[in-house]
């Protein structure tokens, strides 16, 4: 029973949100229409991809506050690369490499300088944003039209795709991370480090090396998220995604991960990201002002975690 709740609690909450808005908007056929689902999914992609990376970090007991800034930094980096007229693939690689690099710097500060993740990534939250503005000369960077621009659109260019290519990319990455976490030695070790670092050390694991790997890997996801964001805006904007780190962390936490580590998963985090997207979308359709959404999301985060604590105690 407890396991069922743990597994499906977030899913039930998601269905509850969808159901509630379907009724509230008074037009379930519109709220649940293919078009609206496309809108929601396209909006979820950036947060969803970033949440995959964040899930891995949170499982190790860490946190990364620099996500929002890294999304902006990776976006303007990719935009600058595109401006040179090279292959869009190079721009993707550049965005991911930039994200990975910031992750590596974070991990170095955490493992070598022994700065706690919260502070280390708080620092890079500022630094990455600053560098993004520097690279972009404090203005948006226009990009030439390439197929990259179609990645995160609401309605895909080819109807056969059903949803934007970016959504498929996110889905594929979700499966990759799911398998990584549940079926590989590396994934197992992430949980071990988050659950009890001293125990992991006693078993011959190297928590420092694992952290270097996980922050860089997650950084690549953040970079990709930044690329998708750029694709959606069709320009590199150094001021974009401020505060997105909170959405990403909220998605992971609503999905059942514990900020003290050792716990969390892909399905939960994606459901958390979708839950917030549906909530936003529903509020917009209701014509509610943004402050209502913000307040509701804040309340939901606390409730989701409180519920989890209650379940844990009952267990």
């Amino acid at each position: 029973m407890k396991n069922i709740l743990r597994r499906f609690g977030p899913v039930m909450a998601l269905l509850l949100v969808i159901g509630t808005f379907a009724v509230l908007t008074g037009a379930p056929e519109r709220y649940l229409s293919v078009h609206n689902l496309r809108v929601v999914l396209a909006q979820t992609v950036t947060v969803g991809v970033a949440a995959l990376g964040m899930t891995m970090i949170v499982i190790t007991g860490g946190i990364d506050l620099s996500v929002g800034s890294v999304i902006a930094l990776a976006g303007v980096t990719a935009a600058r690369v595109l401006q040179t007229g090279t292959s869009p693939w190079l721009a993707i690689a550049a965005a991911m490499a930039m994200g990975s690099f910031v992750g590596l710097v974070n991990a170095a500060a955490i493992t070598r300088l022994k700065v706690i993740p919260f502070v280390a990534t708080l620092g890079s939250l500022g630094a990455a944003r600053g560098i993004a503005k520097w690279i972009a000369h404090e203005q948006t960077v226009d990009i030439p039209t390439t197929w990259l621009n179609e990645l995160a659109v609401t309605v895909p260019l080819h109807a056969a795709w059903l949803v934007a290519p970016g959504v498929w990319v996110a889905a594929a990455l979700s499966i990759v991370v799911f398998v990584l976490l549940s079926r590989t030695v590396f994934g197992r070790h992430l949980y071990a480090v988050g659950s009890n670092e001293a125990a992991a050390k006693a078993c011959g694991l190297s928590p420092d090396r694992i952290k270097l790997a996980v922050y860089s890997l997650a950084g690549a996801f953040f970079g990709l998220s930044g690329l998708l964001q750029m694709s959606r805006l069709r320009q590199g904007d150094p001021t974009v995604a401020a505060g997105v780190e909170l959405d990403v962390i909220a998605a992971v936490v609503i999905g059942g991960a514990s900020l003290s580590g050792g716990q969390g998963g892909v399905v939960g985090s994606l459901v958390g990201a979708l839950l917030m997207a549906f909530l936003r979308n529903g509020s917009q359709q209701m014509g509610w002002p943004t402050y209502v959404q913000e307040t509701m999301i804040g309340v939901i985060i606390v409730f989701a975690v409180a519920l989890d604590r209650v379940r844990a105690r009952r267990g």
């Binding site: 030695v185 659950s195 009890n196 050390k201 011959g204 514990s258």
Partner: protein, 500 residues
């Protein structure tokens, strides 16, 4: 199998090990004795690769080894079973057992091979019926202990170092563990066993070695040494009297419990405690000892039954604060988790429950706090640099004395002590007994639990035995034998109702 030659290790100016020699043969269980701070844990860490010695040699068989990390030691066949268990609570039994040793192909786990290995390891501990998929967080402490031992076997350890493995186990689990240790040693493993309990050591080990101030001071066959000799070697002076001499003259009833029950595993307990007496509560782990103390102090809600103070005032529904005002003081069995704020100073810790008394117009008088703490430290023999030293820097025994000093500072006259000597070395134990006896002599009513029966028999005037949430019998200590208490605790003779 394992030999340690003239090992030295210093941390800054502190010499932790100053010439240690140790030999353990295959198939032998060696008891490593010594007070807290004598260097036992440091030595174990040196052998298991956690620390590197400044000088001296560690050899396995006739080969000198220089482990640079726990991982290397593990690969080399040396496993350290930590006192504070090092397991990942959110992971399953199987995941813990094979952590770092998973069967994998190209980074992917091979589920069947891993499960088979886990099942095979667990089959050596049939009495626990552990399932590989169980989460470690859901297991009782005894089972976790076994998981940690099984993990050592998973790495095919030939030398097992056990640091107080029974400190959190009840009597029956400890007995299982002892059987297991004998079995492991008879298979040719060398085992080093650290414990503060001499009779336990005698049951498990054949040989002993004593460390004092980081140096080897004695070794030999346990059968050739008396307890008094061993204790004297550990503390470095003659100890004739382990337990304080008691001349109890019980005064009026200070606290009375009738058929107390809570939702947390206390079903029925009736007990009267008088001023000036020490009442011991015996029982196995999970028998409800801690729950009784928590119910009396108000940390768990009382669902039925009555608790009253000496004047007959009902305390059952009173808050912790009200019960403290009525003179109750509580010492938690979980010193680090619940008892002390480790990074705060001795002064802050001892006066935590009596700060209002030290404040004037809402401002704390630091001078009075300091002076009062200094006096309490003198009275209780707390060894520390100053009242402002953080408690976390003190030894376990001194920490426990600080926790007791809090009860004294608060002026408690009903002392509820849950495992007051857990994890404390023998020298400190003797001092803690003296503190408790002195409090009783001054008119406090003391209730103390302990998993260590000789201690209850030595210190307490009366002993109550708990079994499965019930306080089954309370008698004068002189009317009890250890065997009778154990029988009652095991629920062997269920015929007798509680009487005082």
């Amino acid at each position: 199998m394992l030999s340690v030659r003239n090992v030295h290790k210093s941390f800054g100016a502190t010499r932790a090990l100053a010439g240690v020699n140790l030999t353990v043969r295959a198939g032998q269980v060696l008891a490593l004795l010594g007070e807290n701070g004598a260097g036992k844990s440091t030595l174990m860490n040196v052998v298991a690769g956690g620390l590197r010695p400044d000088s001296g040699d560690v050899a396995l068989g006739d080969k000198a080894v220089h482990f640079r990390s726990p991982a290397e030691a593990r690969a080399g066949g040396v496993a350290l079973i930590h006192q504070e268990l090092l397991l990942c609570p959110q992971l399953t039994v199987q995941e813990n057992l094979l952590l770092g040793l998973e069967s994998s192909r190209a980074g992917f786990l091979v589920a069947q091979a891993n499960r088979n290995r886990a099942v095979e390891l667990l089959s050596r501990f049939p009495h626990l019926k552990l399932i590989p998929e169980q989460r470690v967080a859901d297991l009782p402490v005894a089972a976790r202990q076994i998981v940690e031992i099984a993990r050592a076997l998973a790495a095919n350890a030939q030398v097992l170092l056990m640091d107080e493995p029974t400190s959190s186990l009840g009597a029956d689990d400890a007995e299982h563990l002892h059987k297991l240790i004998k079995e492991l040693s008879s298979q040719g493993r060398a085992i080093v066993y650290i414990s503060h309990f001499l009779e336990e050591v005698r049951r498990v080990a054949s040989h002993y070695a004593v460390l004092r101030d980081g140096a080897s001071v004695a070794e030999g066959l346990l059968a050739d040494a008396t307890d008094a000799q061993l204790v004297s070697q550990m503390v470095g002076r003659d100890v004739t009297q382990l337990f304080p001499v008691r001349n109890p003259s019980p005064g009026p009833v200070m606290c009375k419990a009738q058929n107390l029950a809570t939702l947390r595993g206390l079903h029925s307990a009736s007990l009267e405690v008088r001023a000036g007496e020490i009442v011991g509560i015996a029982g196995l782990m999970g028998s409800g000892r801690t729950e009784l103390m928590r119910a009396m102090f108000g940390l768990d809600d009382i669902t039925s039954g009555d608790l009253s103070d000496g004047a007959g005032n009902n305390l059952s529904n009173q808050s912790v604060r009200a019960r403290m005002a009525a003179g109750m003081g509580f010492l938690s069995e979980d010193r680090k988790g619940e008892g002390l704020a480790l990074n705060l100073s001795i002064a802050d810790n001892t006066t935590l429950s009596s700060l209002p008394r030290l404040a004037r117009n809402g401002l704390l008088s630091l001078r009075r706090q300091y002076d009062e703490t200094a006096e309490n430290m003198r009275n209780l023999g707390v060894k520390a640099q100053s009242p402002l030293q953080p408690v976390g820097q003190l030894s376990g025994g001194n920490q426990q004395k600080v926790a007791l000093a809090r009860l004294a500072a608060q002026g408690a006259n009903i002392w509820l002590l849950d495992e007051p000597t857990r994890g404390v070395d023998i020298g400190s134990k003797v001092q803690i007994y003296e503190v408790i006896a002195a409090a009783a002599a001054k008119g406090a009513a003391v209730v103390m639990t302990s998993s260590y029966l000789p201690e209850l028999l030595g210190v307490c005037d009366r002993i109550g035995v708990m079994c499965k949430g019930r306080l089954v019998q309370v008698r004068a200590t002189s009317d009890f034998t250890a065997a009778q208490i154990l029988n009652l605790a095991l629920g062997a003779s269920g015929s007798v109702e509680s009487s005082s």
